[in-house]
């Protein structure tokens, strides 16, 4: 779809050979003081992966406790801390930073920019994150323990009934939010202002489009989250009553404010995934993406609709019936643009010359399993049946299908797709296939039975359960342990790849890959497109 003239490629080579003032710096300072989008992308991705392992370890604690009915291993308060911090880490520490890392690496290369628009701020937004999570994790070891009110920190659980380390939780969320907002501003300004000549809006790769819209959502809703945690702080420590009916407030108001942030947040974690899949499927089908323009419009409509569906998380709070109808119908409307996307991916593969390299395997798994998560979402959108599903394991099954087999599978697909471009070497394909198949089987053993126990009435966020759920929970836990272990294969593969083991790859890496990032050498030089390419 986009091509550069060959002269410009030569231009690039001559630039790499020297005569610009800064070479690759050495040592720890390279990483602490870096302004290079590739370095910062790498930092984000490794940070996200480490957080994924820590959050995953917490999930293992949860599944070990739930392996059998009865209180087995940890005390209930610690169990609650595990569910809470697992959620917070996976959302804010793993999925979001991984996508930001991919944006850092890829957006400038895809649009022919020399770097992100605001490189110093880029460094700032990354380095806030390790500190924010240091604060959050350190609260686990303090008097009274860490946050135990669920990642959604509903009032009054987070106000009246929480311990004093809530203040640390509040301020760590504040600086995480500052990091996300700065990261999003950087992405948006880069895309608006740094596109190479000829890179018109409707020529941009879909990953760039989806990230543009994601960045808009981030800037719109992260400040609302900051407002919500601020009100929790003042309610808990300074005597306000935003979420206390005795003072004229309302605990349900917390849920409205939180989900006004929370629902767009859900799409912040899936729109970049849509972009990734829209890059990978055409490559391995050897066909251009079917319905490019409709993909752009569908992404935009999903983002806009995400602002008017938040109360579908709150159907059981006693809202007026008219409000329930509105939020139900608006929610169902989202399945239309989402359906357009799934249709387009399938239509791209239709009569394509498909090959099943590892990124394509993950992309195909994404399409099937994300669609399962989408369908259970449609079930949850129906008000009368949601009264049955609400707060059960059915909800847990739903959002893990869209987040693990959706967002995280797409991140893995992206890593396998672009890793050779980053390192210049092909990763260990045998290990990668082991990783894929082990993950695919175990993740379904882990999450699919949750639908059944949820429909049968097993509540979420409970360390103990009725005997009738015992068999399914045993299988769920076994699937969980297997999925956790499978990720160690990924860790081994990544370490091997970063030590630059493997066969050297060509600039294009994958037969059928198109776009500016495949026209620069592999590994991608430290500085690319210092002189913008001309896109035809």
């Amino acid at each position: 779809m986009t091509t550069t003239t060959s002269e410009h490629q030569h231009d690039d080579h001559s630039h790499d050979d020297g005569h610009h003032e800064h070479h690759i710096p050495k040592g720890i300072k390279r990483w602490l003081y870096t302004t290079n989008h590739k370095d910062i992308g790498t930092l984000y991705l490794w940070f996200a992966f480490i957080m994924f392992l820590i959050g995953g370890a917490m999930a293992m604690v949860i599944r070990a406790e739930l392996f059998q009915p009865g209180l087995q291993i940890v005390d209930p308060n610690f169990f609650n801390q595990m569910t809470t911090v697992h959620g917070l880490i996976m959302v804010f520490g793993a999925v979001m930073p991984a996508f930001t890392g991919l944006a850092n690496w890829l957006v400038p290369m895809m649009i022919g920019a020399p770097d992100m628009a605001l490189p110093r701020m880029n460094n700032w937004s990354f380095w806030i994150l390790p500190f924010a999570f240091l604060i959050l994790l350190s609260s686990l070891f303090m008097e009274g323990g860490g946050p135990a009110f669920g990642w959604t920190f509903y009032a009054p659980l987070s106000t009246t009934y929480s311990n004093d380390t809530t203040a640390l939780f509040v301020f760590s969320v504040h600086i995480m939010g500052a990091s996300s907002i700065m990261g999003a501003i950087n992405v948006i300004v880069t895309i608006f202002n740094m596109r190479a000549p000829g890179m018109t809006w409707m020529k941009m790769p879909l990953f760039v489009w989806t990230w543009l819209i994601t960045a808009f959502l981030l800037i719109a809703v992260m400040p609302v989250l900051a407002g919500a945690v601020t009100m929790v702080l003042t309610d808990k420590f300074f005597g306000t009553s935003f979420f206390d009916a005795a003072g004229g407030g309302d605990p349900v108001m917390f849920q409205h404010i939180f989900w006004f942030f929370g629902h767009p947040e859900v799409y912040i974690m899936i729109l970049p995934a849509f972009g990734i899949i829209s890059q990978i499927v055409p490559t391995f089908s050897r066909k251009p993406l079917f319905g490019y323009a409709s993909m752009v419009y569908a992404t935009t409509s999903i983002a806009l609709l995400s602002f008017i569906v938040w109360a579908h998380h709150m159907f059981t709070t006693g809202m007026p019936v008219a409000a329930e109808m509105f939020f139900m119908l608006a929610t169902m409307l989202i399945s239309v643009p989402t359906g357009v996307k799934v249709f387009n991916w399938v239509a791209t593969m239709w009569r394509g010359s498909i090959s099943y390299e590892v990124p394509m395997l993950f992309a195909l798994a994404f399409i099937v399993l994300f669609t399962i998560g989408g369908l259970s979402g449609l079930m949850l959108a129906i008000v009368p049946v949601d009264f049955q599903y609400h707060d059960t394991y059915f909800v847990v099954a739903h959002f893990h299908y869209v987040l693990v087999t959706g967002a995280i599978f797409s991140i893995m697909a992206a890593v396998y797709y672009w890793l050779p471009k980053w390192t210049g070497k092909m990763f260990d394909i045998t290990l990668a296939k082991w990783h894929f198949w082990c993950s695919l089987v175990s993740v379904n053993v882990l999450f699919f039975p949750m639908h059944f126990v949820g429909l049968a009435g097993m509540p979420r966020r409970i360390p103990d359960y009725a005997l009738q759920f015992a068999d399914f929970n045993k299988w769920i836990s076994l699937g969980g342990f297997a999925f956790g272990l499978s990720q160690l294969i990924f860790l081994a593969l990544l370490i091997k790849a970063c030590r630059k083991k493997g066969e050297p790859v060509s600039a294009q890496v994958w037969e059928g890959a198109e776009g500016l990032e495949w026209e620069i050498p592999s590994p991608a030089p430290y500085h690319t497109f210092e002189t913008p390419p001309v896109v035809k």
């Binding site: 710096p25 400040p223 009916a245 003072g247 004229g248």
Partner: protein
């Protein structure tokens, strides 16, 4: 224009300031998280010290970072394209601030339209009222909470009206300063900018006076139920933003006095002026919904 002459986008080399900024935010967040507990629970600790250290680090960082940036800008390293990046970045930052205020305005509207009337028994909530607080009357401003806390409502005339006029005038003077800068009338620029800073300071002075009046004479405090909560959180965060805006404009004034900025190249000034207009618009909305209605 051949490719060789293409104006290069300035990508700064390594910089220590952002990492220092991250350390500063760490100290601020960790310090504040402990300090809040210490002051409200009467505990001993180092939270306040850590917070202060963080704030000092932040100020040093901002000073160093901006000094670098002013240096680069004045030695002509910046292109028009980079100027656009800065302007767009500032515009999106202001949009994020708008959404932060939106959260608190949302709380205000929710309380006024939904939670307070429902507590008073409106629509199908009659039993809520009768079972929980049968004597509670849903009126706004909520001068008596369901639990029985009493307060007085702040009127819109007097100080708030005067402050509205002051901020509106300051927005005009800020614009006049910008016009003077673009016309290269340095003397007028200094005058209008100094006047803007002065008006900002006067606004803050009256705001403090209003708070003292509310706390000492009216019994209107942050703890006075949802009316006091929304009143102080909205005006408080707004006042905090006015303080920041005044400081920014004051720094711009110092830079103008040192001969910085040209009619073509004055991003920092423009950003400060946008910020000031934004703070002004927030006040107008706030004056309307918090004080008048």
């Amino acid at each position: 224009m051949s490719q060789k002459e293409y104006e290069k986008y300035y990508v700064p080399a390594q910089s220590p300031w952002p990492f220092m900024g991250a350390c500063a935010l760490f100290l601020i967040a960790f310090g504040a998280g402990n300090f809040v507990v210490e002051i409200t629970r009467g505990k001993e600790g180092y939270g306040g010290m850590i917070l202060l250290l963080g704030l000092v680090t932040l100020v040093i960082m901002l000073f160093g970072w901006f000094r670098n940036q002013i240096h680069e800008s004045m030695s002509g390293m910046y292109s028009a394209q980079l100027g656009r990046s800065y302007r767009q970045g500032m515009a999106w930052f202001i949009f994020s601030e708008v959404m932060f205020f939106a959260a608190f305005f949302g709380a205000l509207f929710y309380a006024r339209v939904i939670s307070v009337p429902w507590l008073g028994g409106s629509s199908n909530n009659q039993m809520t009222n009768e079972v929980l607080w049968p004597t509670f009357q849903a009126i706004w401003p909520l001068i008596e909470t369901p639990a029985g806390g009493k307060t007085e409502a702040m009127g819109w005339y007097g100080l708030p009206l005067l402050n509205t006029v002051i901020l509106l005038v300051s927005s005009v003077t800020c614009h006049m300063a910008h016009v003077a800068l673009e016309a290269n009338k340095r003397k007028a620029l200094k005058g209008w900018l100094a006047l803007t800073v002065l008006l900002g300071a006067v606004f803050l002075f009256f705001q403090v006076e209003e708070y003292v009046h509310a706390y000492t004479e009216m019994g209107l405090t942050l703890q006075s139920g949802i009316y006091g909560n929304t009143f102080f959180m909205l005006t408080g965060f707004h006042g905090f933003h006015v303080t920041l805006g005044t400081l920014i404009l004051l720094i711009m004034l110092f830079r103008v006095l040192k001969g910085h900025f040209t009619p073509e190249n004055h991003f920092a000034f423009q950003a400060g002026s946008w910020y000031w207009h934004f703070v002004d618009v927030v006040w107008v909305i706030l004056f309307f919904f918090v004080y008048i209605l």
